[in-house]
């Protein structure tokens, strides 16, 4: 039995305990008095803000309740922003304009970018961050890199730099982040890489060490996705058998916990599960159960929950279905209860920290400019869920790696929402707590718990995976989704509704010229030539660590100095095997 049973029972008990507390407070005059006083004092402390039009508003609007039971239900069941169980948000302030004399917070906008060769993506990073006070770089890799292959491998030439940046060596990694200072607190880096995450992360660390010296390792801020469970369930970028993949991942996580206090070594991702076709509830249930599975594995390695739990982060998809009004809110609550009551984590470890991306699947090629509106609706819902950071998709994504024009529109969409509109900058909870949102929360919570029960019945996350449970559920949902589009039950404007039926021109396509691709191949060949005498010994040492049970990640940081990604993948596959896909 995994911990899921305890978690499901824990959440149900929490809900029951809240109601018990409500009854107690109502029945006991002393408790009633105390909670009314507490409520009054909370209200008194809320500052008033003045909007540009001169309107006075509370910085934290609170529900209009004055009955002790209702107050108890709110404070214990939902919590104030930044308080257990963090239903409304992980932190107290989120996107508010800072009060006078305080430092401007990091922008939550974090745009994913990657195209062509490292030089191209570096240029895009500078373009994206030029107006931001913080530099939040988020990297997409090309197909060969995602599969741990070198740019000079047979059959991959056409894929070099398409849909993401090509990274073969530590030298590419140096170029990729050229001009960004990793020692600064305003720089953070995110890398969307999974199957080969340990090797790519090792290149990142080694490149930073080359540029800023060894002390920089402890200062590196950011995230690597590295979520191998969701890869097996939905996204399919897996290089090694699951056991070996998990071991390499846990080695990396352990290293980061010990040496990189500002790094999030895993981003537990529902995005790809959702994009592969899962319903919102499936996305939530599979993702948080994956998170619990990682927590159990880290605990089995003897790492203290308070050392690893605060280092987990999450990544959700936000689409247009009504569940997305509150999906992440509910996940935050379930996570908090589980981490406190089942894993014994402290407050930092209870907080589910969340990156959200709008749904690529919801965008369509037909009359593609409508995608701007779809994404706009999705970012509103993402921020209603108090996401800690957000990527908004570009409208041209059904066709191409985004062009600068549409990337800018996507980024500015978020700025308009957060800076121009008054929805999020003056007050917290502007969009929380409505009867509709509460109804969605209740319904979604129940459905997630039911789904977790099903996973537990199949033997927990790994047992269910062995039965192909998550994959077949996702595929069935995807098939239903397409059927609904054909039948018209799922309405898509410009496609099965209000279509003008005329061919619309497609946007400008970003394709990587063959000369750039060749340049990448040539650089790699040069690297291999220069290191030809050192690489075999480095790979031999790596293989020894694999067999001796040492920390593979720590060794990889050295291996990448002289070996390419493909050389490392081949070596590891020779020793631990290749992943046999489940379909």
């Amino acid at each position: 039995m995994s911990e899921l049973t305890k978690i499901i029972e824990g959440v149900r008990k929490f809900n029951k305990d809240v109601e018990t507390k409500v009854s107690e407070v109502r029945a006991d005059p002393q408790q009633s008095k105390e909670i009314l006083e507490q409520w009054e004092s909370i209200q008194e402390k809320v500052p008033t803000v003045t909007t540009p039009t001169g309107l006075q508003l509370p910085r934290l609007p609170l529900p209009v309740i004055d009955e002790p039971g209702a107050i108890a239900r709110y404070l214990h069941g939902e919590g104030l922003p930044g308080q257990f169980p963090f239903l409304s948000s992980a932190y107290a302030e989120m996107y508010l304009d800072p009060l006078e004399d305080s430092i401007p917070p990091e922008e939550p906008t974090r745009l994913f970018a990657g195209l062509g060769i490292p030089e191209d993506t570096n240029e895009r990073f500078h373009f994206l961050t030029k107006n931001q006070n913080s530099h939040r770089l988020s990297t997409a890799f090309d197909g060969p890199t995602l599969y741990g292959m070198d740019s000079d491998s047979p059959g991959v030439f056409g894929k070099i730099g398409e849909g993401g940046v090509a990274i073969d060596t530590v030298e590419d990694m140096e170029v990729l982040f050229d001009g960004f200072d990793f020692r600064e607190l305003t720089t953070s880096t995110s890398m969307t890489i999974n199957g080969p995450a340990p090797a790519i992360m090792a290149m990142f660390v080694a490149a930073a060490r080359r540029r800023f010296g060894p002390d920089v390792i402890g200062q590196l801020r950011g995230t690597v996705q590295a979520d191998i469970l969701k890869e097996v369930q939905g996204q399919n970028e897996v290089l090694f058998p699951l056991d070996a993949s998990l071991r390499f991942l846990l080695d990396m996580m352990e290293y980061c916990v010990e040496n990189m206090p500002k790094w999030y070594p895993v981003s537990i991702s529902g995005y790809h599960i959702s994009q592969a076709g899962a319903t919102p509830v499936q996305q939530a249930a599979y993702t948080i159960s994956n998170g619990f599975a990682y927590a159990e594995m880290m605990r089995e390695r003897g790492i203290d929950v308070n050392d690893f739990a605060p280092r987990f982060s999450f990544f959700f998809d936000c689409g247009l279905d009504v569940e997305f009004m509150a999906l992440s809110r509910v996940c935050r609550k379930i996570w908090a209860i589980a981490m406190r009551d089942v894993f014994g984590a402290n407050s930092r470890g209870q907080k589910l920290k969340l990156h959200t991306q709008t749904s690529g699947r919801s965008l369509v090629a037909a009359e593609f400019k409508n995608n701007l509106t779809r994404t706009a609706a999705e970012i509103i819902m993402a921020y209603m869920n108090a996401t800690n950071s957000c990527h908004s998709n570009s409208a041209d994504e059904p066709f191409t790696t985004p062009s600068e024009e549409y990337v800018k529109l996507a980024s500015h969409g978020q700025s308009i929402l957060l800076e121009e509109t008054g929805l999020f900058r003056h007050m917290m909870n502007g969009m929380s707590g409505s009867p509709g949102m509460k109804a969605v929360e209740k319904s979604v919570e129940k459905a997630i718990l039911d789904e977790l029960e099903e996973i537990e019945r199949l033997g927990g996350v790994l047992g269910a995976m062995e039965h192909r449970y998550q994959r077949s559920q996702i595929q069935a949902a995807s098939y239903r989704y397409e059927k609904q589009i054909f039948s018209g039950e799922r309405r898509i404007i410009g496609l099965n509704r209000y279509s003008e039926g005329v061919e619309k021109p497609v946007p400008e396509l970003v394709r990587i010229p063959n000369e750039q691709k060749q340049k990448q191949v040539d650089k790699l060949k040069d690297f291999k030539k220069r290191n030809a005498d050192k690489a075999p010994a480095a790979l031999k040492r790596l293989a020894e660590v694999v067999h001796s049970g040492g920390n593979v990640f720590a060794e990889l940081i050295e291996t990448v100095e002289v070996c390419s990604l493909g050389q490392i993948t081949d070596c590891l596959q020779e020793h631990v095997g290749k992943f046999r896909p489940m379909v």
Partner: protein
């Protein structure tokens, strides 16, 4: 590939599925894991009566072409999402040409990333059809029957992948006047059966991996079965898992049961005769049944030298075991997934059952086929290869 709806005129003459299901191979190219569209289209095609050999994702052009030839499909369907499609499809077509197999069609899809301009280029170099975003399931099915419903075979012995592939098609299609297989070779023939989920496919692939490591010149043939559905379509998905069997020395044919109960196809016996003929030249032939029930006795053929029953630990309950008929005739029993809780107990139960039936000489093995270089598989292979 995103599939979306564009209202289309109902075809006046909807093409009909021919007498034998159209066999197609579908796959996602190298460095691409976007399989949501292809699995969705697969499901619909199966419902419409196609036999789909599905290779999965991240597959090279070489693997696709070798598979298409061995499976002798009417066409190869490629779902490409993350770019490089112009180069990839071209590579596939060139490899098919090189193998003299232009008769195998190529079609594809990929959502908005393949643009109408790209399609013009792709059709110029030989792609039959590209289904763009907006194509309905119905028009995909109709177009595929129209393009590939008239499969032809040329019979030219069985000494190459192309020849053997086509001969097996002739057997499956019950072609009149087809020749009879020649003299039996020395190929060792091993049949694997057992309930669904026991890990037969992985076990065979791990066996093949080990056998190729030990003897790089060994030639292996595999007949792998999956059930046909009521629609007569079927998903033949073993290739997706058997990655080490994608090898020039390995001939892998996926077969649908086409209405026959018990684990094999009506064509299996005759296909096997060809596989073990001198001309085919295999050293080892492996036959995998579909996941079978308790009463199944699939290996009635004299051609099978060794019958292996593969179980997973959850089949260890005594009463259940008593009902498995294969236990009485198997030459070896394998308890796979030996890392599962209950594996030790399952092994004891299986041994007891075997003893109670007076078949003490039947060896019982434990394996964890999903583990690279599993020593249990090595032992099994060494014991049964002689």
């Amino acid at each position: 590939m995103k599939i979306s709806y564009i209202p289309t005129m109902k075809d006046q003459n909807t093409p009909r599925m021919p007498e034998f299901p159209v066999r197609l191979l579908t796959a996602v190219p190298l460095c691409d894991g976007h399989d949501s569209a292809v699995t969705t289209v697969n499901q619909e095609l199966i419902r419409q009566g196609f036999e789909i050999v599905y290779m999965g994702y991240h597959r090279s052009a070489e693997d696709m072409v070798r598979s298409a030839i061995q499976e002798d499909v009417a066409a190869l369907g490629i779902s490409s999402y993350n770019g490089g499609h112009i180069e990839f499809f071209k590579e596939v077509i060139q490899l098919l040409e090189k193998a003299g197999r232009n008769d195998i069609g190529v079609f594809g899809g990929g959502g908005g990333t393949i643009t109408p301009d790209d399609v013009v280029i792709m059709k110029q170099y030989g792609v039959d059809e590209v289904f763009l975003a907006g194509t309905t399931f119905e028009s995909i099915c109709n177009r595929l029957i129209e393009l590939y419903g008239n499969k032809k075979v040329v019979l030219q012995g069985v000494s190459t992948d192309t020849a053997l592939g086509q001969m097996l098609t002739a057997v499956e299609m019950k072609l009149k006047d087809r020749p009879k297989a020649g003299k039996r070779s020395k190929a060792k023939v091993i049949g694997f059966t057992g309930p669904g989920g026991a890990g037969k496919t992985t076990l065979i692939d791990e066996w093949v991996r080990g056998a190729l490591m030990e003897n790089p010149n060994i030639k292996i043939g595999i007949l792998s079965h999956d059930p046909s559905s009521i629609s007569q379509g079927g998903l033949l998905g073993d290739r997706a898992t058997m990655i080490y069997s994608q090898h020039d020395n390995v001939f892998l044919r996926s077969m649908a049961t086409r209405g026959k109960q018990g684990g094999l196809s009506p064509a299996t016996e005759e296909c096997l005769q060809w596989m073990v003929s001198d001309e085919a030249g295999f050293d080892l032939v492996l036959v995998e049944t579909v996941g079978t029930g308790q009463e199944a006795l699939p290996f009635t053929s004299d051609l099978i030298d060794t019958k292996v029953l593969v179980l997973h630990p959850e089949y260890g309950a005594r009463l259940q075991l008593q009902k498995i008929l294969m236990l009485e005739v198997a030459d070896a029993v394998v308890v796979n997934k030996s890392d599962w809780a209950g594996a030790t107990r399952a092994l004891e139960e299986v041994k007891r059952q075997v003893e109670m039936r007076g078949c003490e000489e039947i060896p019982v093995f434990t394996t964890k086929a999903s583990e690279h270089n599993d020593q249990g598989v090595v032992k099994l292979r060494n014991a049964l290869s002689v």
